[in-house]
Assembly symmetry: C3
Homo-oligomer: 464 residues x 3
């Protein structure tokens, strides 16, 4: 299972098979962990330290020397020291000239310093070739060998050969190097391990907000209203009934919000008559998190499916059905069994069928967004799935909600304290999206839009 | 999330860090989009154009020159022009000698021309090194940065160094180059973005055909027959009941069709006594789309599960159950409650259990076919899952269907207008497959088959 | 779809485009299959054989020569011969000097010989450069082109250039070479295709044992007990009711076993006051198969969900409900309909809700463990999902089980033959894990633990 490391080969034609000495500055936890790993991989390792006293923690086969001595023994020096202490390197500048310095440091906060640690290091020791690497690897994972998540080592640096040497080491340790370009990328690489799902923040905050709003909305309508008006205690609705109202509302709303920015973009482009002006910032950001919005919507849809399928097992539902039947049975003595209401059967079956098909397509969309699947799909196929199937999903789910309302849709009796049923609110965005989209499909709008997207401009502005 | 680009490094040991000028012929939409991206990545860009008038659309930092002047400034020239206009390059042949020409063109139809655009370009400018690249990337995606699907850039060309230079640019733009070999591969690369799920065409058309057939079959038996004979309106069966008959039938039939070609191949090999003769063409094609057939079958199985789980929520089912109970209750007054029918309980529970286990294994097979999972599995493990678990799935699903029929299986009363129940038709292929397979397992057939597959021949035909 | 091969390029700057002759020793099945493929890819192929008689099986365009003659024609010689016959190469040592020998052999058992075949070959022909490759590819798959699982070719060898030449051939055949380092890796590479899910063995054996135990436990309580005491035949419980008890028990127990080793490790580290001593072997192994344990637990949880959702369709359940209602209806004549039991409604709804949420998070954990997903996640995100969400899942599932017991939890009436309800046994491990974990969170324990994990030692043991 752990074979998919190093899928790139060592190449420098003059590479001999004997591995070159690596120097590590700093005998802290991460420095030692790296040292162990490198010795295992066959590299001679020498530590540079203030005190050359050998600690039992330092791997046996490693030498511990002063910084200057250690640096002279190796072409590659790994700086396993915190940024605050980098200035001790200034006096060593002459010894470090031409050497490869590997910056492995991390910060505590995103964009903590104006320049990245690696760039700062390059300024301090201008004669050395600085390469950023290893900062995304955890010392603990390195030592225990349980590198499930982070086999990838992002590498960047201005000197191609230096970068190449570092990437060879990365591969030798059983990790996968990813070349991120010049040292400018160091800032991003240093921020990377501090991120916690940055693209998911907006979709999750948005849905938390919506969940809170709809929770109190449904609580008012379904628990407080019957308690106040009819003095009935339906507080247990909080466990399943209310979540099963909130989930489909959020799924549908968020799904509509996936397609809304595309429609807004089309309108803006039509209005401006060109595609060569930037969208407003909020629209750009919104478009970039559409995948995450869609996946959150899928999560709510899945919960809705589970909550719905569980209905007939609920003790409340069993009680309600059995008391209905019992009261019916009392009448049935007079031999009047209720006939099948055909309209009801149609409505109930078709809203279930629409929901099933919609959910099925939704799951398909979700599977296609898995990285390993979307990598095997070309642009035309990706667009087909995400656009055509996506709109079909939206149509099916909107129809599911409309038919669910059935005969009572918009009927006055469904208002409680002037509040409409919650599901009606979920129809607002999908209906807007579908109506506007169906307008945009008309040739009189679709043709100019296509031409604009191919680069045509209504008012071309030649600078000359 | 967008880190998994460029996992291969720049290598040419003499690469300096200053990026070399790139020339782009053509100021169309894709040429400009590429130009922008390259300038962002630090490449000096010069456009070659008929009119050297600078348009505001062209990136500010780019020069616009005549074709000849532009070509002289760069070692790499990207031809962002349609194939029909390639002949303007002939007079430039002398200037283009030794340059790297990157063909990025696409066609409108698969195999539109006898030779690929890139090969045509190589014929027109024989002194240049032609590399095919970038044709799978969308201009729009390049500009907007939303390259979800198409980070992969297929590259091919006859000159290794030229290809290498282009791949370096690809990586610098944050894309992943995939070396596809010599320029012969250009035809395939040019067809790639025009394809729309080519491997899925047959399985989807086949299942559409089967769906149509079984829909009318079930409509006749379940809606028209009761309407004609008993004057009952069950038209709402179209929403759920009939789909829930069609889906399992298709799932089982398609699953059997996944294993049928393997069995036919075995019979052909046994009959011929050798594995060194090609199978008939239809069998080859059938074997290549087995994975897709299986996934379509899984889709139908999933729909069947959803349709089935939804049964107790259906208004029709609730009505039927409650009227059954009511009529039972009228009798119960005489203190005669119906006892539990143990056979029924056994049949009902075991067909459900078989279905659950079959579906569970089916989903497992589906997960194993995800590219990222199957890459982490060796040949023996893959065969184990796809063959052993696959047959177990087929056996469980067939048993599920057989037990579903239960006591009424093949009973005359289940025929309507001489039509057997639909599920019986679904048993034809699985039973054939299972019976033949169980015959092929006998040592008297299995041993010679194994030897044939290891290369043994019944009638070896030495040419000398 | 089959585009994701060779994502690394040929690089040696002096590579000409004409492909070099490859020699294959041995005209067996795999040798011929490789030969075919190479000729297709444009390589001139020459076979070395004892008898130079051309067989019709050998590709037409290939020459067949004696071993010595064939070896002289090529720089690369593929040894398609079984290890037992390697000694015929000793007399050829002089001719093979400096050549690249590719060992493609496999063994029948794991670690069959003390040294790997490739190392044995290197000892026999010390002057040659031995590279291990191609052993993970199936001859049959190579010939039929259906290389779904095994596009990956593991390559190892001591000579970098030789390895590079072999990897170029691998890429030319449309396969993906993975550099595994020096020839020492050959042992592992030779074992790889013989493995059958090695990491899964322990979790699957463990769960088989637990399934057997709980099956007989439940059989005793739910089938034998009512048969002996009340003379009721509930044998059909074997199909659904008993599996639906076993599955949740196993899911919960295995999930707890995923988190137990982490807790044991923390206790050991706290006790020892250092992280620099190895854990006991069993703990190491246990920690390495946590992912597999979790996925098996997820499989059981999924089955539990399916078995539960199917409940209302079961014929037994329908009979039970209808006889309850009928008997209720007889009383209802006296106009006494049973009121809703609010506590029951709360208990039933909340255990269902807890189960749904727990299962939902569990599936999320499963999706995150897909290789393509976990590759796109950084270390912090991975830890967040696997640790925070994992514990939340465990808490929800434990609460689900506790509430399921409800009012009868630990009540004496639920004991049959002194055996407690099966679900109570499933609570043992989760409760231990949750209690100990909640103790470890206290600052007085958490702080020293964090420091120990950062490398601090209670009794530092300097060697000097």
């Amino acid at each position: 299972m752990t074979k998919n490391s190093s899928n790139v080969m060592a190449l420098a034609p003059n590479t001999s098979n004997k591995r070159e000495t690596v120097c590590i500055f700093g005998t802290g936890d991460f420095g030692r962990a790296l040292g162990y790993k490198m010795i295992q991989a066959g590299y001679p390792v020498v530590f540079g330290s203030r005190s050359t006293q050998t600690s039992s923690l330092i791997p046996k086969d490693a030498e511990v020397l002063s910084h200057a001595e250690a640096a002279q023994k190796a072409a590659i020096i790994i700086i396993a020291i915190q940024r605050q202490h980098y200035n001790f390197l200034t006096p060593l500048a002459e010894i470090l000239r031409g050497k490869v310095l590997v910056d492995i440091s991390n910060n505590l906060k995103i964009n903590q310093y104006p320049e990245s640690n690696a760039e700062y290091l390059a300024q301090l020791v201008p004669g050395a070739k600085v390469v950023k690497a290893f900062n995304t690897v955890s010392a603990w994972a390195l030592q225990s060998g349980t590198l499930d998540a982070s086999r990838q080592v992002f590498v960047c640096g201005d000197d191609v050969e230096a970068k190449q040497m570092v990437m060879d080491i990365v591969r030798a340790l059983g990790l996968t190097p990813l070349d991120q370009g010049s040292l400018l990328a160091a800032q991003e690489i240093e921020n990377y391990p501090l991120q916690l799902f940055p693209m998911w923040k907006f979709p999750i905050l948005l849905s938390l907000g919506l969940v809170t709003f709809f929770f109190f909305y449904c609580l008012t309508r379904d628990v407080i209203y019957p308690y106040v008006i009819e003095n009935k205690d339906f507080s247990f609705f909080i466990a399943i009934s209310i979540p099963n109202r909130i989930c489909p509302i959020l799924a549908l709303t968020l799904l509509a919000l996936v397609y809304l920015p595309g429609i807004l973009a089309a309108i803006i482009q039509l209005y401006r008559g060109t595609k060569y002006r930037r969208f407003p910032d909020w629209l750009d950001k919104w478009m970039l998190c559409r995948k995450q919005l869609g996946l959150v919507a899928l999560a709510f849809a899945s919960l809705h499916v589970l909550y719905t399928l569980v209905i007939p097992i609920r003790s409340f539902v069993r009680w309600r059905i059995s008391s209905q039947i019992v009261s019916q049975a009392s009448f049935a003595l007079n031999n009047k069994t209720e006939p099948l209401d055909n309209t009801n059967a149609w409505l109930s079956d078709s809203y279930l069928a629409l929901g099933i098909l919609g959910f099925f397509l939704f799951v398909l969309l979700g599977i296609t967004s898995l990285p390993s699947v979307s990598n095997n799909v070309n642009w035309r196929e990706f667009r087909f799935v995400q656009s055509k199937l996506g709109y079909l999903t939206l149509i099916l789910c909107t129809a599911h909600t409309l038919v669910y309302g059935g005969k009572w849709f918009l009927s006055p009796s469904s208002y409680r304290w002037y509040l409409p049923s919650a599901y009606m609110l979920s129809l607002v965005f999908p209906c807007i999206v579908l109506v506007v989209k169906s307008v945009l499909i008309f040739p009189c709008l679709d043709k100019p839009l296509t031409r604009i997207r191919q680069g045509w401009e209504r008012n071309p502005r030649y600078s000359e």
